[in-house]
């Protein structure tokens, strides 16, 4: 089996989040406008709130006799100018990812990786001020995603 990196895990993470329409679709609730995008690392300056950003924190390679385990950690944040909305969307992200078989969303032969764990291990929140002086709420958490692939 060809060795694959953390790239499929990122793809699977985003695909799993995108598959949940509730995250992207606005409803009648003014505090749920729907995400304007999913961004890796840093969102462009003029993106509308709310949006989601994710970042790979760590991915040490752990080899054993039969394969490779990737115990990765991802930070997933919601940025919004409304704290209630940020927390609501963060809750939806948690529901989407917690114990999900995220690698299952990609075709199995494509990556060769299977999900071992997908769990939230920490809450993270912070607030900031954007270029226009508006208060921005950054709410999210760290997700521990472990995958295994045969070599």
């Amino acid at each position: 089996m060809t060795l694959t990196t953390t790239a499929p895990i990122k793809r699977a993470l985003v695909a799993t989040l995108r598959a949940n329409n509730a995250l992207s679709t606005a409803d009648d609730d003014p505090e749920h406008r729907g995400l304007s995008g999913f961004f890796e690392g840093l969102a462009p300056r003029k993106v509308n709130y709310p949006f989601l950003s994710y970042n790979l924190v760590a991915a040490p390679y752990e080899y054993d006799w039969s394969g490779l385990m990737l115990p990765t950690a991802f930070d997933v944040f919601i940025f919004s100018d409304n704290s209630v909305e940020a927390n609501n969307l963060d809750g939806l992200v948690l529901l989407t990812l917690q114990d999900a078989d995220i690698m299952d969303i990609l075709s199995p032969g494509e990556t060769g990786q299977t999900t071992l764990i997908c769990r939230r291990i920490a809450d993270l929140s912070s607030d900031d001020t954007d270029e226009e002086g508006h208060k921005i709420y950054q709410v999210g958490g760290t997700y521990s995603i472990w995958t295994q692939q045969s070599l």
Binding site: A58, P60, P71, D75
Partner: protein, 285 residues
């Protein structure tokens, strides 16, 4: 610990009719185990500290000559007249540097870059002279305040000057001394001279340290702390800056190593206490 001694209530006298027995001192053994685990935790925390320091981002404050290339820009070359007049009386180096800062090329299109214009030296780079004879350190390299130039060292023989951000850090007194005080708090060297060795850049890295280990009940824990106020912005990112995690990768990288350090410490204890299994290794695996 295991020790040889008399039965309880008996003396060590040679006339004692009873054979000596092994006495297991549970309290001493427990204390030794705790000490061994504490040592293991300390070593593991020091490893994590070292790893975090290696990963911590450090802003480079020295010119490397390729800053413009990195940004896809290049500096307009000096004209022959400017080169000729650089050492003349009519056009000082300061004016030449200003003129260079205003015109840059990106591809074939001329464009004045606001960042570089702002970052361009307004004075001669060597004109800023807060402390004659002072020295700045970054990593193992030192520069001299007066000349803003690296002291040549083995392995780093280049003479690099501070770039605009570096000069700003220095003039704004944001740099830290070795003692952790602000640069304004100059001190006299032991030799009696007025040498101020200042750390410029690397504050985040320099402040990472280990606290503990401490024992609370049955838990022995050590903390690797990054107390710099902007540490969390580097670790988790903000709306304006992407994250550059350095603490949690250190923890993840050494996940197996923590356990091994504690096992090693316990096995050393076995060896010294005579409970080792011999050549097969320690009793803790």
């Amino acid at each position: 610990m295991m020790r040889w001694g008399p039965n309880p209530g008996e003396g060590f006298g040679k006339s004692s009719p009873w054979p000596r027995v092994a006495v297991f001192d549970a309290e001493a053994w427990k204390a030794a185990v705790i000490a061994a685990v504490t040592t293991g935790v300390r070593v593991a925390a020091q490893k994590a500290e070292q790893s975090a320091k290696e990963d911590a981002p450090v802003r480079d404050v020295f010119r490397h000559g390729n800053a413009y290339r990195k940004r896809g820009l290049r500096r307009r070359p000096l004209t022959g007249a400017e080169k000729a007049s650089e050492h003349g009386v009519f056009l000082t180096r300061q004016i030449i540097e200003r003129s260079n800062a205003t015109i840059f090329t990106r591809g074939t299109r001329f464009r004045a870059d606001p960042y570089l214009r702002r970052a361009a030296p307004r004075k001669h780079p060597n004109a800023f002279n807060p402390v004659i004879g002072g020295r700045i350190r970054q990593g193992g390299r030192e520069v001299e305040h007066g000349k803003l130039r690296l002291f040549p060292e083995a392995g780093d023989p280049e003479n690099k000057t501070l770039h605009a951000r570096g000069r700003y850090e220095l003039s704004g007194k944001r740099a830290l001394t070795k003692t952790g005080k602000r640069m304004s708090a100059l001190y006299t060297s032991k030799a009696g001279g007025t040498v101020a060795t200042t750390t410029l850049g690397g504050r985040l890295r320099g402040e990472i340290h280990v606290e503990g280990p401490i024992q609370a009940g049955s838990i022995i824990a050590a903390k690797v702390v990054s107390p710099t106020y902007y540490a969390k912005y580097q670790e988790f990112g903000t709306r304006h800056n992407r994250a550059t995690p350095y603490m949690r990768p250190a923890v993840a990288k050494l996940r197996i190593s923590y356990r091994n350090e504690i096992v090693k410490a316990l096995n050393r204890l076995n060896t010294t206490s005579g409970l080792s299994r011999g050549s097969r290794g320690g009793m803790y695996q």
